[in-house]
Symmetry: C2
Subunit: 283 residues, 2 copies
């Protein structure tokens, strides 16, 4: 059930940092609507332990945007993923929207089931998969599950788990600026500098197509690139000691900015050599 | 009344991110005590609009550390800075400790007065000048006065003002991880990449001597080096739009780490070329 890397998915991911506007301009939901092309949207409330009301709030928010064909997908337990009606709703859909809650509910209940297979197939053939908050984190191969907000990262204070893996080579955190999560995102990338850290503010999203994403919304998106890190105390330091991490490259992106995930560069930036030459210049 | 740059100050700055431990291990206050060498400490509560209780809490905290010769320095208004008794207490001191409050109270009331001149002279001849929270911010040439915490920086949303200038070429923010201030620190350095951004967590401090500082305490210290920045929308974007800023070099330092302010490098790090070579390597 893994994505065959020889055939890149044709779909779009819309990864939202939580608290997307549902009553005002609704810029992010409009972007979701645009990618539906008038088709059916499945609102997957499976991240929630108590899903009541979630679907209705999205129904109300999407209706004025012309998205009137919505179905709720809730999965109480893994046996539910065999339900014919649920699977049929996914067959008819052009998009899936994961609401917030607990990312572990999504993976533990739908990973490696027919529901997940249909969502993946939809993405591969060109559908849009959106997710907010927990629904954003779950997109990654390795996802952040738990870690302190509003403080610097302490060794050992982070729980990660395998995610749905719809986007590769990145680890995503949400409610980013609002909850002061730079510490835990740096903690995450310190574990493996191959992985690019992406922190997404509330009411802000990245729209991923192929190897590029663009930023939409009201806040910022932070990219922590640890590929040039020269020192970290991650494995030497005792548990609960604060992390030391030198030479992270950090980008802050806002509405309209785009980013190349292969080159690890913002598109409007000069090349890496320019940045390095500026740094090396004697001033 | 400016420091003569041809004769570097012989003193020590202890710049604290706020909420230093006053009842437990008191590691930071111990460091202040160590630099007093048994001498007198002036606790400057001038940052506070209502200074009652500040001095007593420091008296109680310092006493078990062997610092028993303490005087309070409060300045209600600029005329107070001519008071002979206050000036004499500074003549006898080996250290000054600025408590928290409003950094603008410190600068507006004591800058360019005999009080400031005596504090500067004490620093130049080898005394210790400590400051916490507002007392930390005020150390810089240009200090942060106000800006939103817990969100990304929006163009225009930052108030800066001239500080005491005891440390040059840096801009300091405090309560850093706890209040989610990475956004506003990046906003500050975007204004002028010459200035190094230093964000200090609570119960954490940098101890500055000459061109080097070391980190002590329970949290982390963030260094945002914008010298390699390739793009920023600071002047192009409309007010209140989020900042875009590409290619910031970020270091996270913790207890025991040291930093060279001239080379802009953590001491344990490889050199800049190593970091750049790692980044440029095809993986």
């Amino acid at each position: 059930m893994t994505t065959d890397s020889s055939t890149p998915p044709k779909g779009t991911l819309i990864i939202i940092g939580g608290h997307e506007d549902k009553e005002g301009r609704r810029g992010i939901l409009k972007e979701v609507a645009r990618h539906l092309h008038g088709g059916k949207l499945v609102v997957a409330t499976v991240a929630s332990h108590e899903p009541e009301g979630y679907f209705e709030s999205y129904q109300k928010a999407f209706e004025p945007l012309g998205v009137t064909d919505l179905t709720e997908l809730y999965v109480e337990n893994r046996a539910d993923t065999l339900n014919e009606e649920k699977l049929q709703s996914l067959d008819e859909a052009t998009g899936v929207f994961f609401s917030g809650g607990d990312q572990l509910r999504i993976t533990s209940q739908i990973a490696n089931t027919p529901v997940e297979a249909k969502i993946r197939a939809l993405y591969e053939k060109g559908g849009v998969i959106a997710g907010t908050s927990a629904g954003a984190s779950v997109m990654c191969e390795t996802m952040l599950v738990k870690g302190a907000s509003g403080e610097s990262y302490r060794i050992g204070d982070l729980r990660m788990a395998p995610g749905l893996g719809l986007i590769r080579g990145v680890i995503i955190d949400q409610h980013f600026g609002e909850r002061g999560r730079i510490g835990r995102l740096l903690g995450a990338v310190a574990h493996n500098p191959r992985v690019l850290g992406i922190g997404i503010d509330e009411n802000t999203a990245i729209v991923v197509q192929g190897d590029t994403f663009s930023v939409i919304g009201e806040g910022a998106v932070y990219i922590a690139d640890a590929s040039g890190v020269t020192y970290s105390n991650l494995v030497e330091a005792r548990r609960d000691r604060p992390l030391s991490l030198y030479d992270v490259r950090l980008h802050v992106l806002s509405h309209g900015d785009t980013f190349d995930l292969v080159k690890r560069r913002p598109h409007e930036a000069g090349d890496l050599e320019t940045s390095q030459a500026l740094e090396a210049a004697e001033c």
